[in-house]
């Protein structure tokens, strides 16, 4: 499942800075940091060619802990700084680390536009469905009913679905993974790194202090296989402890079916992550865990790559426009620029 990996060039130690990591004990961010170092070690990219750019929030401290180039910027705006960095320096591999508050609330606009432009940046959205650094207010990703300091009695706002938003923004790579599934996490990070263009990865991340256990259904050994659908390109969508449940399309409506009872394996939806149209990916992005007692055949939440398509990146297009202009008319000289308008000479 791991991407074709060249020999590791960087060890975890190479990528560790001398700064103390200051996340709370038990925070999901520790695992993500460790897997990121593992993933980068396999890419064959020297560390001076890697930059981490972040906004504000717990996740955004990430750059301080990576011995690469790093820029801890302002709330919500990381995609803009990352875009500028890519424009100036297209040799860099640029990662944006953001959270559900930083990326979906204050910075929602920039996220949408960076993805739409297909700037070659890898956006990692650590989703813990809560505001951590400001100490426990509900976030735009909080599920309805989430109790928090600013939502007494439970929140009642409809939450953002990060992957649906990314797909609507025309993102060319969209994936989801989980902090405590190291192998899957590493593989997804490697795939995001290999993608040319904007990559958007939602990482379920447990906040031990303010929203502990919110993803338990997807991480707890006894239940997770019933609640999580691992997407594999070209494979039928099968899940469940006994691998006997699957997803079938009934007209425009997906449904959970039991193989052998409701249908055969061949009747199931087959995952196609490279489909030109994001319709299937969007449909999958709507699957949400439902633990209400009345839920009948609740959907599993998919993880893996929802969509990966190759389109020209913003930088490729801009750089080729520059190159074209030079080829067509020659490299501009300042002398000519000054005289581009009518000139006259005074003796």
């Amino acid at each position: 499942m791991a991407a074709s990996s060249p020999l590791p060039t960087l060890t975890t130690k190479d990528l560790t800075t001398d700064q103390d990591v200051r996340w709370c004990p038990g925070c999901g961010d520790y695992s993500i940091l460790a897997q990121m170092k593992k993933a980068l070690g396999t890419l064959g990219v020297p560390r001076e060619k890697i930059a981490f750019v972040s906004g504000i929030g717990c996740s955004s401290r990430f750059p301080y802990y990576m011995n690469t180039y790093g820029f801890h910027t302002i709330h919500g705006r990381a995609p803009t700084f990352a875009t500028g960095l890519r424009l100036a320096n297209p040799d860099l591999q640029v990662w944006v680390v953001t959270g559900d508050g930083d990326g979906l609330s204050i910075g929602g606009n920039h996220l949408v536009h960076a993805l739409r432009r297909n700037v070659d940046i890898k956006v990692l959205l650590f989703n813990n469905e809560i505001y951590g650094l400001t100490k426990g207010q509900y976030s735009p990703a909080s599920r309805i009913g989430t109790p928090s300091k600013t939502s007494p009695g439970g929140s009642f706002e409809t939450p953002v679905r990060p992957l649906s938003l990314a797909l609507a923004a025309e993102a060319t790579f969209v994936a989801r993974t989980i902090d405590v599934d190291p192998q899957h996490l590493v593989a997804i990070l490697q795939k995001a790194a290999a993608h040319k263009g904007s990559a958007f990865v939602e990482i379920y991340q447990n906040c031990k202090i303010f929203n502990d256990g919110v993803f338990e259904y997807a991480t707890e050994k006894s239940v997770k296989s019933d609640n999580v659908l691992y997407l594999e390109h070209g494979k039928p969508m099968v899940f469940g402890k006994d691998r006997n449940r699957g997803i079938r399309l009934n007209g425009l409506k997906p449904e959970v079916v039991t193989i052998g009872k409701d249908c055969q394996l061949d009747d199931l939806l087959t995952h196609d992550e490279v489909a030109e149209e994001p319709t299937l990916a969007y449909l999958l992005s709507r699957f949400a865990h439902d633990d209400s007692p009345t839920a009948v055949n609740p959907f599993p939440e998919p993880v893996g790559v929802f969509r990966t398509v190759r389109k020209p990146t913003y930088e490729e297009q801009l750089n080729s426009r520059v190159a074209e202009a030079i080829t067509k008319k020659g490299k501009g000289k300042i002398e000519d620029l000054f005289k581009a308008e009518d000139v006259w000479t005074v003796e």
Partner: protein, 653 residues
């Protein structure tokens, strides 16, 4: 007789050739003329004015222009709100402003007449498109009686021309729709004005050929050519006036010239400064009046290696510019006041991380949306203080359209030498106004030497005892210390991609030298003072404030930015009348030149003309305890020279 803008021009009628209709005909030589083309915003007045300016500049006049247009793209036709004007001052002498009042006014409709007549001198020439004075037109302009007939225009030299009818007649064989035909009437009026001032049509005809060169545009090209010539011939044939006026060549320093607006000059300055510094230019901006033409101008210059980025909003624009600077380019963002509000957090980050950044603020009337198309100088204190925390930046202000070129060089120099944000303040008046610009010789332009860190810099640093009492973490040889400063307190600029210099920066307070996150009380105070001192150190690299005029005068007139032309003209005129006046103009607003306090002390009285409520006055009083008295105008319009003259006279009375 036409007056000549207040200066004592010599009216010298020359030989009298016969006009086309055989009448004797006079030429009169005048020193300068101010004319305004006014019409509906769809009437093409901006174009007519621009063409007249180009032609006059090529004829060797000194020129200064003032376009004045509404914020609405097309307000309802014929209404007072929709009037668009373009004023041109052209002269045989050195001039600094577009002129206070008009020698001639072209009014294409009653609304244009109503809104502009007050600026026409008594006895001035008034060219009226009589076809635009139907009763419905009069109603839209709230005229109760027709000014063409009611005697209210007595005292002006009125030239009545049925421009619409004559234009339709002239272009009737070009195959245009009636609507398209009417769009040529600005060129008919322009042709007539060319005749009045004995100008060649060639520059405009060349422009028409170039502009409409596609085969399908042939009818448009022909129609514009015909209407322009028809207007000229009408003047000659009908002899609308007994005289034609001649404005001779100005005595200008030898050299090659072109006409330039402030925004064009910023474009050229940014490109030239970065090319000569061997640094890529990345300009990120969100369209906003009156700064958009900088973005548009740079977007055309891809073959010069320029990259532009039209951001999703003002915040993104400053973010992209800072990210570009972090990546080793010269990151520039451009905007106007409302955009600066949105960028302020980003600018604070550039102050904190000590990265080069240029913010071009083409000021307009505020607050809020304010007067988008009108000029004002009310963002000085915003640039100075408009951020959270102690957050000093460098501030420059351009004083003329062509000075925008030089100031762009200075902005690039300071941003890259000192690793800091630089505000480049312009304003709507000089951004859209134009003047002749002496094209510089490339070899004479400053070559900015921009250094980037190439290797670790920890040698010689013991890891202890910097003024902050910074602890020893991060010491040792072979390390890169991103905040180890040079003699002027600038930090090194290490570009991501450079091996061995990997480092982290951010908006959290940091330890000096190492750049590590640090919340210690003494360190924070040290860093706040260090960032401030670094900005103060810029003063060590800029020229002293010069005094012009009478250094021993009692009165100093001191200004900043786009008021330079009006102040200079007012000082020149009052001195010519025998008053003793000194003048100084600030291009560096933060820090100010180091002798500024000494200059102010020399004068008993200090007059500060500003297009705001007294922002520079405020700074001068606060910084130097100087007795600054403001002359303040907040009307969205530049100073008239006469307004400053009157203030000077009053101060010396």
């Amino acid at each position: 007789m036409i007056s000549n803008n207040g200066t004592s021009g010599s009216a010298a009628p020359t030989a009298a050739p016969l006009g086309a209709n055989g009448h004797a005909h006079r030429f009169e030589e005048v020193e300068s003329v101010t004319i305004r083309f006014a019409g509906d915003s769809g009437d093409g007045m901006q174009l007519a004015g621009t063409q007249f300016t180009n032609t006059s500049a090529l004829a060797g006049n000194d020129v200064a222009t003032f376009p004045d247009f509404p914020a609405e793209i097309r307000a309802p036709a014929g209404t007072l709100a929709g009037v668009s004007g373009f004023q041109v001052h052209f002269a045989a002498t050195d001039i600094h402003t577009p002129g206070d009042d008009l020698d001639a006014l072209v009014a294409m409709n009653p609304a244009a007449l109503k809104t502009n007549l007050r600026d026409l001198k008594p006895g001035g020439i008034l060219i009226l498109n009589t076809d635009g004075f139907e009763s419905s037109d009069l109603k839209k302009a709230a005229y109760k009686t027709n000014p063409l007939d009611d005697g209210s225009l007595k005292g002006y030299k009125i030239i009545r021309v049925p421009v619409t009818k004559l234009t339709r007649e002239a272009v009737k064989e070009c195959g245009l729709t009636p609507r398209e035909q009417d769009r040529c009437k600005n060129f008919f009026a322009l042709g007539l004005v060319y005749w009045m001032y004995e100008r060649s049509l060639e520059t405009t005809l060349r422009w028409v050929r170039e502009k409409f060169k596609k085969p399908e545009q042939l009818p448009t090209m022909e129609a514009n050519t015909k209407s322009l010539k028809a207007g000229y011939n009408y003047g000659e044939t009908v002899e609308v006036m007994p005289v034609q006026y001649k404005v001779g060549k100005a005595k200008i320093a030898p050299g090659t010239y072109r006409k330039i607006t402030g925004n064009e000059a910023i474009v050229l300055g940014l490109v030239a400064a970065t090319q000569l510094a061997n640094k890529p230019l990345i300009y990120a901006s969100y369209p906003i009046t009156p700064a958009s033409s900088v973005l548009e101008g740079l977007a055309e210059l891809r073959r010069y290696g320029v990259k532009t980025f039209q951001a999703e909003d003002e915040i993104a624009a400053v973010g992209v510019a800072i990210g570009a600077s972090y990546g080793g380019a010269v990151g520039v963002t451009g905007t106007s006041g409302p955009g600066v509000c949105l960028k302020s957090e980003g600018i604070g980050l550039a102050v904190m991380t000590e990265l080069p950044l240029i913010i071009v603020d083409v000021q307009r009337g505020g607050p809020s949306t304010g007067l988008p198309t009108k000029t004002e100088q009310a963002d000085l204190l915003q640039a100075m203080f408009g951020r959270n925390g102690e957050c000093p930046v460098a501030i420059l202000a351009a004083q003329t359209p062509s000075d925008c070129f030089d100031i762009a060089f200075e902005a690039v120099r300071i941003a890259t030498r000192f690793m800091c944000p630089v505000f480049l303040l312009s304003d709507g008046y000089i951004a859209n106004g134009s003047e002749p610009w002496k094209i510089p010789v490339i070899a004479d332009l400053p070559r900015l030497e921009v250094k980037n860190a190439t290797q670790p810099n920890s040698d010689g640093w013991t890891g202890t005892g910097h003024e902050s009492g910074a602890e020893g973490e991060g010491g040792g040889a072979g390390k890169f210390l991103p905040y180890r400063r040079d003699e002027l307190l600038a930090r090194p600029w290490a570009i991501p991609g450079t091996p061995g210099l990997e480092h982290r920066i951010g908006g959290i307070e940091k330890q000096d030298v190492t750049g590590n996150v640090n919340y210690e009380p003494a360190n924070h105070e040290h860093m706040v003072k260090t960032r401030a001192q670094k900005i103060e150190n810029i003063a060590l690299t800029i020229p002293d404030l010069a005094i012009h005029g009478d250094a021993d005068a009692n009165l100093l007139v001191i200004g900043w930015g786009g008021t330079y032309g009006s102040i200079t003209t007012a000082v020149e005129r009052t001195r010519r009348r025998g008053l003793k006046v000194a003048q100084a103009h600030l291009r560096h607003l933060n820090p100010m030149p180091k002798n500024t306090g000494d200059v102010l002390k020399k004068f008993k009285k200090i007059l500060v003309p500003e297009l705001n409520s007294g922002q520079l006055s405020w700074l001068l009083r606060a910084k130097y305890l100087a007795p600054a008295e403001g002359l303040n105008k907040i009307q969205g319009r530049p100073f008239l020279v006469s307004e400053i003259e009157a203030a000077i006279e009053k101060a010396l009375a």
